[in-house]
Amino acid sequence: MPSKLSAEVPDEVLRTPLVRRLLERAEVERPAYTHLDCSNRYEPVENTLTWAELLVHVRAVAAKLRELIQPGDRVAITARQDLSYVVAFFGALYAGAVAVPLSAPDARAHRERLVGVLDDCDADIWLTSEALVGRLTEFAEAERVPAPREIVAVDTLPLDPADRSLPSPVSPEDPAYLQYTSGTTRAPAGVVITHRALSAACWQICDAYDVGEHTTCVGWIPFFHDMGLAQLLAGTMHAGGRTVFIAPLEFIRRPERWLLLMSAYPNTLTAAPNFAYDLVTEAVPEAKRAEYDLSTVSIALSGSEPVRAATVREFLAAYEPHGFPRGAFRPSYGLAEATVYVASGDSGGPVVTEVDGREVVEIGWPRGQRVRVVAPSDRVLPAKVDLGATGEIWVKGPNVAAGYWRRPELTAEVFDAELDGEGGWLRTGDLGTIRDGRLSVTGRLKDLIIIDGRNHSPHDIEETVAAAHPVLGPERIAAFSVDGDEGEGVVVVAERARKAPDFDESEIARAATRAVAERHDVRLRAFFLVKPGGLPRTSSGKVARSAARTRYWTSDGTQFPHGS
């Protein structure tokens, strides 16, 4: 059977740090990275760096960093999504630093996250653009973060076309960057991506989606997100094609800009979470759709959150008439702990299947790595997999990260599972099934909430709700994800205090909703106030989230009677 054997990532790729690819292109005058600046909404402006120019800018950043740091020191990228981010990220790698790709401290919900991460990785050099230095200085003074030794505006550094410096020597096992999408706000878990894992992931992506010099990667997903970093920054660096990007909020503001990006360049590859395919279908009227010819699209991959059958159907119905090739739509699965990519579909187009009576969009085949589905009870037995059974998805390959930054216990638990006497398997915490070699993701074992492609820890949301109103309190809240027609959402069930005086239930719900929106930038799908003792608990007395979901939420989205 296995119709597609997963090829192995070539040794040469694993040995070659990504930024060395720049040297081959020192004389190449083709565009490499283009920021389509949409701040003037009438005419987006292209700002472009050619490969040759990019190398000069990257060397300028590296020269500056070499004065400031030792190889292996963390360097935070706190820029907006523009060319300075591109230059800063690759400059940090070129200098042998451990890059920490973050965002600018723009939104309040981002600030708190940023504080937690900067504290965890202790990056005392921050790379940004001149326009943001003031804001970052204010941020550093106002927040409890380790004071930066220097905030470097990469767009003010002197350029020296005579600089012929080489990338700082690194071992393939050295960390290239830390990807912060896991853990909680207070205890963030930075995934340690080695140079080897990064190169492996780039090769896997290029192999899976046929990315090469002919490809234009287009999109808007954030660079600080694993999928954005891989699709818009690293993949193009590996393959030598071109990237054209806009800022994430510019897509939300005018979803048709995504269509512009997909249609205005040849052989485009784009990536987005499921919600974006909904948005571009709902928010763009037919008359506007007709302005774009999407036959230019080679790949439109959907990843970072569950791929929904209804979304795929509606998107294809809306855009196939405008040239979008059905076979370009690629359901994809991955996670930061595996750098980014695990498996995806092929040019046959998305396949909807049924697992346990539910519609599921099949993902497809892994590339350059092994994937197994492990039933929890089988873990001690020889794993009987590929029998259509559902279990936890385990991954092993050169793209799997080295672990979580300075978290040895968590690292051992997640990254060093044993299967058939072989250690080093990554436990993804996702549930799935493999049929004829094709992976489907069917659910989640871990208590993670993914909304619009962003990960949220239920613990963080519970903490926020506990503090939102005097009638609420710690250890009496359950936050969990639910599924519905609108995609994944978060529901909170809270026990009121035993000695609650008169209280107004709707006021409490408003307070909880407000606190969660302000701190996490997330809308609660529902909030239930229940009687003391109303939440199910484990034998050790901890609130049991999935049991709470079973008790208070049905799969068709209606609530059970609860009463407070």
Binding site: R41, T50, S84, T513, R514
Partner: protein, 101 residues
């Protein structure tokens, strides 16, 4: 700010109720959007709707001020007042080619 937001409050309220799908009787001009569960993605959608409805150009940096109907009306009033002025010129185009040549 000299701009008068009051004249836009009713129109903004109508757009808010439509965009966020809320009952007009349950909110007033000072009800925080966060209390309706509005996240930044939905605030950007409101900003875009206001831009189209009123033919103005709003900076995404104004997003922090779109916290309630009054705030949104104020941002709009300022944009309308500034409408006659030329847009800020000059691009953050420090990395354009000419810099190297």
């Amino acid at each position: 700010m000299a701009a008068d937001a009051s004249e836009y409050v009713d129109e903004i309220k109508a757009l808010v109720c439509e965009t966020f799908d809320v009952d007009p009787d349950t909110i007033d001009e000072n009800t925080p959007f966060a209390e309706m569960g509005v996240d930044s993605r939905r605030r950007v959608r409101l900003l875009a709707t206001v831009e189209v409805e009123f033919g103005v150009d709003l900076d995404l940096d104004e997003l922090d001020r779109l916290v309630d109907i009054r705030g949104a009306a104020t941002v709009l009033a300022e944009a309308v007042e500034a409408g006659a002025k030329p847009r800020k010129s000059g691009l953050p185009g420090f990395l354009r080619r000419n810099r190297l040549s």
